[in-house]
């Protein structure tokens, strides 16, 4: 009997709880190519960083000549044009700049920071709602509703529509799971498709409304097109909105959940955070290194033959950048398997790098800092009910499906 390929072992559900020993094995072959037509897998820190800045590496699926699963992209069937995550410069740059002009510096330097208070309020409400429960599921009761609420506010989805909105997001996210996507006829996929169409129609209606009556939200900004780069087309606005929505909150759920799980495994840091909220920034950075919510970037390809570590990767090949492995590369980080917020030098790959560096990073950082600080302070004597917790299927967007925590109560 032959051993299944390393890649198969990594994507196999059984390794979801702890893929890191397999990543260590992976790094021993810096450019792994296991089978004809399969991806070239890159796992060491400096190689990944190099490729993320390499102008010969494309994010545009059109440049692919080899087939393969593509977990981070939206399925084409929605009829929306690709969002900027799947485009190269100059189109990528244009769309991203327009989106950014309503999100961050230089045009809106305070947009995210101005949300600080509101984020705190949402977190407090969610924790208040826990009442006097003795066991909670952190995912369903906190880590999931929090970022969905936030992204709704940011985009400009009215409060009363949030439940509908959430009901669409749920099946879409489930549909992103690579396993379920193998079978387009499966109920999961049909549900996702259905939800996507509904969401698209809903957003289109909302966008039209905002075009007529702008408010202080991103949809209005995107529709108004006042920036130096002009306006997005309505279709571009919709695909950008769907991207922000999915990529934005999906990763934050995992970051918060992975964060609490890690802190419960390293209680001394949980205690420190309780005493000193100032530590939250360092803790979140180390989390992004130690348990990044996006484990790998599977959607890159090269537009010419490139040589890496003596291997020639032919033009059009699929390249996987395993961020989770690069983040634990001992060539880059001392004692990489230890969670150590005090390491000071935490230049992780958790948000990627280069022109596609995570658009929502400032928001994800702030949300997670606020969430973990509040959890540390308000959960009374939290204990893990099971370790490891049950994980979600997805190997790319990796995180626990549930995180059951026993508590003595919720402090005021």
């Amino acid at each position: 009997m032959t051993q299944p390929s390393l890649l198969r072992r990594i994507t196999d559900y059984s390794s979801r709880a702890d893929p890191y020993p397999l990543y260590a094995e992976l790094r021993r072959t810096p450019v792994l190519h296991e089978e004809e037509g399969g991806p070239y897998v890159v796992s060491s820190y400096y190689d990944i960083l190099g490729l993320l800045h390499d102008p010969r590496i494309s994010s545009d699926a059109g440049n692919l000549t080899a087939p393969g699963a593509d977990e981070l992209s939206e399925p084409e069937a929605t009829g929306l044009p690709p969002s900027f995550i799947r485009l190269d410069p100059p189109e990528h740059d244009r769309l991203r700049r327009i989106a950014n002009s309503s999100f961050g510096p230089p045009h809106r330097p305070h947009r995210i920071d101005d949300m600080r208070e509101e984020l705190g309020r949402i977190v407090a409400e969610l924790l208040d709602e826990l009442g006097d429960e003795r066991e909670i599921d952190l995912v369903d009761q906190f880590a999931y509703p929090f970022p969905v609420t936030v992204i709704c506010r940011l985009l400009g989805v009215p409060r009363e529509d949030e439940p509908r909105f959430r009901a669409w997001v749920d099946p879409i996210v489930t549909g992103l799971d690579p396993d379920s996507r193998n079978d387009p006829g499966a109920p999961v996929q049909r549900a996702a498709q259905e939800a996507r169409v509904q969401l698209g129609m809903y957003l289109a209606g909302l966008a039209e409304q905002r075009a007529k009556e702008p408010r202080d939200d991103m949809l209005s900004d995107l529709m108004s097109g006042h920036g130096p780069d002009g306006a997005m087309s309505t279709m571009e606005v919709l695909s950008t909105a769907v991207l922000l929505l999915i990529a934005g909150h999906e990763t934050t759920v995992n970051l918060i959940t992975n964060g609490m799980l890690t802190l419960l495994r390293y209680p001394e840091h949980l205690r420190r955070l309780r005493e000193d909220p100032g530590l939250s920034a360092a803790i979140v950075e180390e989390l992004l290194r130690y348990e990044p919510p996006v484990q790998l970037v599977p959607s890159r390809t090269c537009i010419t033959d490139i040589e890496l570590r003596g291997v020639t990767i032919p033009k059009g090949s699929r390249i996987w950048l395993v961020l989770g492995a690069g983040n634990r590369d001992p060539e880059r980080f001392t004692d990489p398997d230890r969670f150590d917020p005090d390491r000071g030098d935490i230049q992780h790959l958790g948000f990627g790098s280069g022109v596609h560096v995570c658009f929502g990073a400032p928001l994800a950082r702030l949300e997670t800092q606020i969430a973990l600080t509040a959890l540390a302070r308000r959960l009374d004597n939290p204990r893990l009910v099971e370790d490891p917790p049950p994980y979600r299927q997805n190997a790319v967007l990796r995180g626990p499906r549930h995180l059951n925590i026993a508590i003595d109560g919720v402090l005021p």
């Binding site: 400096y46 960083l49 190099g50 800045h53 390499d54 102008p55 010969r56 494309s58 190269d88 410069p89 100059p90 740059d93 230089p106 537009i303 010419t304 490139i306 060539e331 880059r332 790098s353 280069g354 022109v355 560096v357």
Partner: protein, 464 residues
């Protein structure tokens, strides 16, 4: 004392003196403490302020987005130092290991770090330079004064020299709707640093933002009013520009005069040192107790044919300070070389400009991404068949790739396809640097040394 014991003693109770309490000085001090130096640390600075950051002085400060007295450098750790601020070092006794101060004091050292940087080159005609309304911009005090005048709403600002600082000042003026004229001896802004091809783009930026740009001219004189206020500038083409505020941006002079006669290899081009930041004496012999870092240093770089480079770069000051600090308290076998790839950034007229490598060494340039006409591009400079530098306008995130191309001596012209490559980028063209013997405002990298036979080499930097 055997070498090993000496270094142990030095780390435990040695005396380290840093002259120049700015970016390089502070970062060195922090590194010394981070690496376990527990002896006494003295920081000597002629400015009365705690270390502050200079790049904002010509950017955020002039735009009114940051207060000039609020650009203190962030502290990474407590350095537990004796501060001698507002006191210049006036001399150095190498043999006795003592620094002389302006107030008559002498400070003994076991290790000395010199980080005295550069100062703005003043307008050469002294009487005209004294006129009220004539400024340079290097220090916080300069920025406070200039900022105050700009706020008062001058009729027109006149900038002499269109290097980075001059261009940034012009940009800040236009941003506030202040009329501004820029005079430059070369044919375009930034040519000394980036060459004529990129200079032409910079010139368009000036024009588009309403700067009255005069190139290929020299300023022949400044005219004062009877009460001693500047009122006009005279140009070599015979024209006269009325102005009530002149900013002289003619590059910098190294702060080495205080070392005259000390026996150190210090002069107008800086203080020569080896790759480990140890200063040379005037005979070219390396010292073991005097180190240099930052803008005042001149050090050989293997990537650039061991030419001595003088860099006026923020990042260089930080990297060099860290290396110097490490080496000062380490045995020779543990020392590390300073091999930072030069990198510089600027922001003006809403554009982020960044360069890596040594553009001014480039013979040719190729636009490998984006386009000059859109003013969003990456340009790669070639020197003798290899990539020697790159510059980006609003495209910073690719530069890391080009930095590696420089480090590995990748071939030039660039043959491989890149994303966003337009037809204009398929051919190399002359980079168009002015004749180096003609003075301009001065680039921020100066090749100032002997060059052994040129050779192709593969440079592999150590990574930590």
């Amino acid at each position: 004392m055997p070498a090993e014991q000496f270094h142990e003693w030095l780390r435990r109770e040695g005396r380290i003196v840093v002259v120049g309490a700015s970016l390089a000085g502070l970062r060195a001090a922090e590194t010394l403490r981070a690496e376990g130096f527990r002896g006494s640390l003295t920081m000597i600075g002629d400015e009365p302020y705690q270390p502050y950051d200079r790049p904002p002085l010509s950017k955020a400060v002039l735009l009114g987005k940051a207060a000039p007295d609020r650009t203190d450098l962030p502290r990474r750790r407590d350095i537990d130092a004796v501060w001698r601020l507002g006191t210049a070092a006036t001399g150095l006794d190498l043999a006795a290991q003592r620094v002389r101060l302006a107030d008559g004091d002498e400070v003994p050292y076991d290790r000395l770090l010199i980080a005295t940087g550069v100062r703005a080159r003043p307008w050469p005609k002294e009487e005209e330079a004294q006129l009220d309304g004539v400024f340079v911009l290097r220090t916080r005090d300069d920025a406070v004064r200039l900022h105050r005048r700009l706020k008062a709403g001058p009729r027109r600002v006149f900038v002499i020299g269109a290097g980075f600082t001059g261009s940034e000042i012009a940009s800040a003026c236009r941003d506030q709707d202040i009329p501004v004229t820029v005079a430059e001896r070369a044919d375009a802004p930034l040519v000394g640093a980036l060459g004529g091809v990129v200079g032409a783009v910079a010139a368009e930026l000036h024009h588009d933002h309403g700067v009255d740009l005069r190139t290929g001219v020299m300023v022949t004189g400044l005219e004062g009013s009877p009460v001693g206020r500047v009122r006009a500038a005279h140009l070599s083409d015979g024209s006269v520009v009325e102005t009530d505020l002149v900013v002289v941006c003619l590059g910098a002079t190294r702060n080495t005069e205080w070392l005259t006669g000390s026996g150190l290899g210090a002069g107008p081009r800086g203080i020569a040192c080896d790759a480990g930041c140890r200063a040379f004496d005037f005979r070219g012999i390396v010292t073991d107790d005097v180190y240099v870092a930052g803008d005042v240093a001149r050090s050989p770089h293997p990537l650039f044919s061991y030419q001595f480079l003088s860099l006026e770069h923020w990042g260089n000051a930080v990297a060099q300070a860290e290396v110097a600090a490490h080496n000062m308290i380490s045995a020779s076998s543990d020392r590390i070389p300073h091999m930072w790839v030069p990198a510089f950034w600027s922001s003006q007229f809403g554009v982020n400009i960044k360069s890596v490598g040594v553009p001014s060494m480039g013979e040719q340039i190729m636009i490998t991404q984006g386009s000059l006409t859109e003013r969003r591009f990456v340009g790669v400079y070639g020197y003798q068949g290899r990539v020697i530098a790159a510059v980006s306008f609003d495209n910073t995130r690719w530069l890391e790739f080009y930095e590696r191309q420089i480090e590995t001596g990748a071939p030039f012209p660039v043959e491989y396809p890149t994303m966003d490559r337009r037809p204009e980028g398929r051919k190399a063209m002359p980079a168009d640097f002015p004749d180096p013997s003609l003075p301009t405002h001065g680039p921020t990298v100066t090749l100032s040394g002997y060059s052994p036979a040129d050779r192709r080499l593969v440079f592999t930097p150590s990574r930590h």
